[in-house]
Amino acid sequence: MLEFLENLGKTTRSSFAKLGRGTFFLAHTLTGIGDVLPRPNLLLKQMYSVGVLSFLIITISGLFVGMVLGLQGFNILSDFGAEESLGVMVAASLVRELGPVVSALLFAGRAGSALTAEIGLMKATEQLSGMEMMAVDPIKRIISPRFLAGFISMPLLASLFSAIGVMGGYLVGVGMLGVDDGAFWSQMQANIDFQEDIINGVIKSVVFGFVVSWIALFEGYDAIPTSEGVSRATTRTVVNSAFSILGLDFILTALMFGDI
């Protein structure tokens, strides 16, 4: 029993210590963003590896998620004779929930894990330390551009995911199942609200982009500089990002759509 309490205390203390380190890290990263802006090349390079390289997985997943939504939605809606509302259903679920959440999960798996491994290995091979000795702040030079790139890319990727998803729903619903073309689009236009649906979805993806980039970069920076340490940090990035995305999604949804 005593041992249990002791372990509990140790775990709690180390998690709080890590939270503290993470917060300082974030603050330091944010102050470095001012130095990134005058050097757009640093940012563009990271936008490419974080954003552009995630393009394929996002478009393909978006297409299939949209197609499945089209199929499932049609089955349920046709029971009520409401298959014209398929467009609304597909678009609303994508824009409000699936777009931001699924693309953030994919982003954590594709770009987040890569960021953690990259930073962790840079630490293990003394590149960060070497930079410090060259009087270059590694957080400002290495972390801040990546953070900003993740933060900017995430909402763009989520919007792309939703747009492709709508096309997927259209392909299946209108192309294969025979939903009326005009009804599909006009119902969508009439019922999807820019402020309520689209902006709220974008806000979600902005929050997810912030959190996933923070987790991924911090786990890499805080990794134990060995191969095992980096592999564990990469795993933690994906797991912790997934938890944070889903937990935050609930909180944000409650704030935006629930009357709590």
Partner: protein
């Protein structure tokens, strides 16, 4: 303060330094001086904290007690901005080279210049080629770090370390794991750069022969203390058993071949 004047003959002075990692004392009240313009070696067996000493001098770690002055400034009292200014005048060569793996050789050497100066690209090019020429790798400018051998990587790192014309360079185990030819090249480079660029060099190493060949002064560290110091010749004639064992590479002596353990016979019989 005795060591505050920058005209002082010692570029680095370490006073009563203590540092521990967890329960392990790495340095216990160590004091040493590094003379300007000289090559000073800090030697000792692996795990005696030689690299840690370089990190303490560079301000990457903070000592538990004691002071380190570099060029008259107390490293651990400086504000971050001043510490960074000081670091521009210290080069450090990491054991692994610590080259940035996403850039080629040229960009690696240009990195500190691009970060710290506003020189036009044409001037950066001349400087980079001069530094690369000094280490004999002007022709390797387009290679990526993973295409370099260990010795070449260290020479590129050396070119990068001298890019900003520092006052001193700290070498972390420069000879470890080198074949005889690149070892010879590095020994020659360290010596000639020190002379031609008017540098001060600190070499941390356990390669006795190579280090003794170029060092002007040697400190021998063991278990957190300085156990011997002097010119290479003085150390060779040292009457300390420990220094003799280290300089001659004897397997047994004051440092035992066996890690502390229970009695051998008892240990073998214990399982029965």
């Amino acid at each position: 303060m005795a060591n505050s004047a920058s005209s002082d003959n010692n570029i680095v002075s370490v006073r009563n330094l203590s540092f521990s990692r967890g329960p392990r004392k790495i340095f216990d009240d160590v004091s040493l001086d590094i003379q300007r313009g000289k090559i000073t070696a800090i030697m000792g067996p692996s795990g005696t904290g030689k690299t840690t000493l370089l990190k303490l001098i560079g301000g990457q770690l903070t000592p538990d007690a004691g002071q380190i002055h570099v060029d008259g400034q107390n490293v651990h009292r400086l504000k971050t901005a001043d510490l960074y200014t000081l670091r521009k005048r210290m080069g450090m060569l990491f054991q692994s080279g610590a080259l940035l793996t996403d850039m080629n050789v040229y960009d690696n050497v240009a990195f500190p210049l691009r970060e710290h100066t506003r020189l036009p690209e044409s001037m950066i090019r001349s400087l980079v080629l001069m530094k690369l020429h000094a280490v004999g790798l002007r022709g390797a400018r387009d290679l990526m770090p993973n295409e370099l051998s260990g010795g070449m990587a260290r020479r590129v790192a050396l070119a990068r370390a001298i890019a900003l014309d520092p006052l001193m360079i700290m070498y972390d185990e420069p000879f470890t794991g080198q074949d005889p030819i690149s070892m010879g090249a590095l020994v020659h480079l360290i010596k000639s750069l020190n002379a031609t660029l008017g540098l001060t060099s600190i070499i941390v190493s356990h390669d006795v022969e190579e280090t003794a060949a170029i060092a002007d002064y040697i400190y021998v560290l063991s278990e957190g203390k300085i156990v011997g110091q002097g010119t290479p010749r003085q150390l060779e004639q040292s009457d300390s058993e420990w220094v003799q064992q280290f300089m001659n590479g004897n397997a047994d002596g004051p440092v035992h071949f066996h890690y502390p353990a229970a009695d051998y016979l008892d240990d073998l019989l214990a399982s029965q």
